[in-house]
């Protein structure tokens, strides 16, 4: 057994998924499906077999060593849940029969694991950039005009974030620090701000968050299930790793948590509504990283862990609805409970889980975070995060759930969805409840020892009261909460409207200048051509005597005045031989 264990240790779970992605990209349909299931299973096994404190290096230039695998409790927790998510996501997309998308999804998942296990800055930035590059294909593969435009905006924003991070990393490396470690200088330097900004873009911190709510609703149904799980959680990992206890992040997180739920109240597109809740949920985690105590970091990791499960479950449910009905707006949906009972049930479990209802993963993880804020002497932070939690009840457990499945029936025709989607949703729902009922399974994967019992009578009653208090308002105001066929603009407005006008105007100006010079140049050329058509004629007019023996002196014979082609070739060959001789001899 010991030998088996050592042998397995050598596998990096991220590289297993990336290799799987390579296989998937050329295998035919059946074997591809096998790889899509087996590779994540192997990755889970590999993630479980890595021991905390393990390190693997590779020699690199200038005597530096790439630490491509460095495991501790924090990174292992993330690597494990990322591998589990790869399995759920791949099962959900088994039917798509599109090698490119399946491969992109696996590269994306593998890159995320690579980033959390990276021990040095260069490995981190390598995998970090690979996330954006692989995930953009999950958007583009939808292939309609909106998706393609959204994909371009997505990749541009991420390239900018990646470059900011890279600039910060260059400063770090040239300053002599090569390993990824917390940036806890007394006075934040340039590298600190550059890295924070780069990570903030991926963490979707407002006002840098609009790429998320812009792109995720436009991705393919299967792609958005992956996207909601990885990019922002890798950024949460980076914030916990690099900026634990940064006071700034506490308030940034609180603002995020509330910003997301307020925009979600207005939203009509179901996946965009869920995307706003990613921002809200990541806000909880960012605040946890900012508080920085052992309990708060445990809370942030627990939330990231369970968020991956229930958020992907919600995206799977929403995707199933879109797949079955072809509709994505709440105004067009309603009363699907009878037509899609299983999807309604799984979505309901995800919706209650994200809201933190007892016996779900959300309950046991959100409690940890709120308790950490209170224990750290921050009642305002606790209450504001608690308020954001009400918004989650309101928008997902009540509004989205009700308007999609239980509201007035719109007489929608529903087509059958693939079986594998049900399997994946059942898996996600099972994990939501498993971790909710047995919280120690979750707590044992957290970076620090947990001394907290979520299931006290007090706490369960509090949650029940909070939920019902909010429900009364929801039920009374329900007519006001019905959405309309409108959209909400967000900070992407700045680069989609004024910046677009600016780019457009700049391009037009440059074109105008080029055209003006082009026309003048063309005119001049036209006027000059006759002068050079026959140099002899011009020469005779200007006092050169014609040669006496020439019968037709005014006719210009080109060959008389230029070298034969052969001479040029000869010179070229000679030059080549001389150069070659110079180099080799």
């Amino acid at each position: 057994m010991a030998e088996v264990r050592t042998a397995m240790i050598e596998f990096h779970p991220g590289l297993i998924l990336i290799l799987g992605g390579l296989l998937v990209s050329f295998l035919p349909n059946r074997p591809r499906q096998v790889v899509m299931v087996v590779a994540p299973l192997l990755a889970i096994a590999a993630a479980l077999s890595i021991e905390s404190g393990m390190m693997r290096t590779l020699p690199f230039i200038n005597g530096m060593e790439l630490v491509w695998l460095k495991a501790d409790a924090l990174s292992l927790g993330f690597a494990f849940i990322f591998s589990v998510m790869a399995l759920l996501g791949n099962v959900y997309s088994l039917h798509i029969n599109h090698a490119g998308e399946s491969a992109a999804a696996m590269f994306y998942a593998g890159g995320s694991i690579g980033a959390v296990l990276a021990g040095d800055w260069l490995t981190l930035i390598f995998f970090w950039e690979s996330l954006a590059i692989s995930s953009v294909f999950l958007i583009w593969n939808k292939k309609d005009a909106r998706a393609i435009a959204a994909g371009f905006r997505y990749i541009l924003v991420h390239m900018m974030g990646g470059n900011l991070l890279l600039a910060g990393i260059f400063l770090k490396i040239s300053g002599g620090s090569f390993t990824v470690a917390a940036l806890t200088t007394a006075v934040p330097d340039t590298a600190y701000w550059l890295i924070l900004l780069g990570v903030s873009i991926n963490a979707a911190i407002p006002p840098l968050h609009a790429w998320l709510t812009d792109a995720y609703p436009e991705a393919t149904i299967t792609g958005s299930v992956f996207m909601c799980s990885y990019t922002s959680k890798v950024a949460v990992y980076a914030l916990i790793r690099l900026f634990p206890g940064s006071q700034l992040l506490i308030w940034v997180g609180v603002i995020m948590a509330i910003y997301g739920v307020i925009f979600a109240v207005l939203e009509n597109d179901i996946r965009r509504l869920l995307s706003y809740h990613i921002i809200s949920q990541v806000g909880f985690m960012v605040a946890g990283a900012g508080i920085g105590t052992e309990m708060a970091i445990n809370g942030a990791v627990a939330l990231a862990f369970s968020n991956i499960i229930y958020k992907s479950l919600l995206f799977m449910g929403a995707g199933a609805v879109i797949d079955a009905t072809g509709r994505r707006k709440l105004t067009q949906l309603g009363g699907l409970y009878r037509k899609m009972p299983l999807v309604a049930m799984f979505f309901g479990i995800g919706a209650f889980s994200i809201s933190g209802v007892p016996f779900t993963a959300g309950f046991v993880s959100k409690a940890l975070e709120l308790n950490a804020a209170a224990a750290n002497g921050m009642p305002t932070v606790e209450l504001l995060l608690y308020l954001a939690g009400i918004g989650t009840f309101l928008s997902i457990a009540f509004k989205l759930n009700y308007l999609m499945f239980y509201g007035p029936d719109n007489g929608i025709e529903v087509k059958e969805i693939p079986k594998n989607m049900y399997v994946a949703m059942a898996g996600g729902a099972f994990l939501c409840i498993l971790y909710g009922v047995l919280p120690n399974l979750l707590y044992s994967r957290l970076p620090f020892a947990v001394d907290y019992a979520p299931y006290t009578l007090d706490h369960v009653i509090s949650t029940l009261q909070l939920m019902l208090g909010a429900f009364v308002v929801f039920w009374v105001l329900l007519p006001k909460l019905h959405t309309h066929d409108v959209i909400s603009i967000d900070t992407d407005w700045f680069y989609r409207k004024p910046f677009a006008v600016f780019v457009d105007a700049t391009v037009k100006l440059v074109c105008a200048i080029r055209d003006w010079f082009g026309e003048r140049g063309w005119d001049t050329l036209h006027k000059m051509t006759p002068l050079f058509a026959n140099p002899l004629k011009w020469a005779y007019q200007h006092g050169v005597e014609p040669e006496a023996q020439s019968p037709a002196p005014a006719v210009y014979q080109e060959d008389k005045y230029r070298f034969p082609v052969g001479l040029t070739v000869l010179l070229t060959v000679v030059m080549f031989v001389v150069t070659a001789a110079y180099i080799w001899v």
Partner: protein, 80 residues
């Protein structure tokens, strides 16, 4: 408001009242701040919080951010 809607509302309020009774009888008051021990605080917070979120979203925020669906151009195909 229909009969059914009223019934749902009454049941919710009854459960809240019962939960407050349960809290008063069986929960030993403990916590970091006053609101952790304040009886029925969570029901009030849920009620008021939900109202505040809806009002903030539906009045000031909505008037700022709401646009027509084709605001960014029909096909959203680049800047053309």
């Amino acid at each position: 408001m229909t009969e059914k809607n009223k019934r749902v509302l009454i049941v919710s309020v009854v459960i809240i009242v019962l939960s407050v009774l349960l809290e008063a009888l069986f929960v030993h008051p403990h916590g970091h701040y006053w609101y952790h021990t304040f009886l029925s605080f969570d029901a009030f917070f849920g009620f008021i919080g939900c109202l505040v979120l809806i009002l903030v979203a539906k009045i000031p925020v909505r008037s700022l951010v709401e646009r027509d669906e084709d605001y960014y151009g029909g096909g959203e195909n680049g800047n053309d």
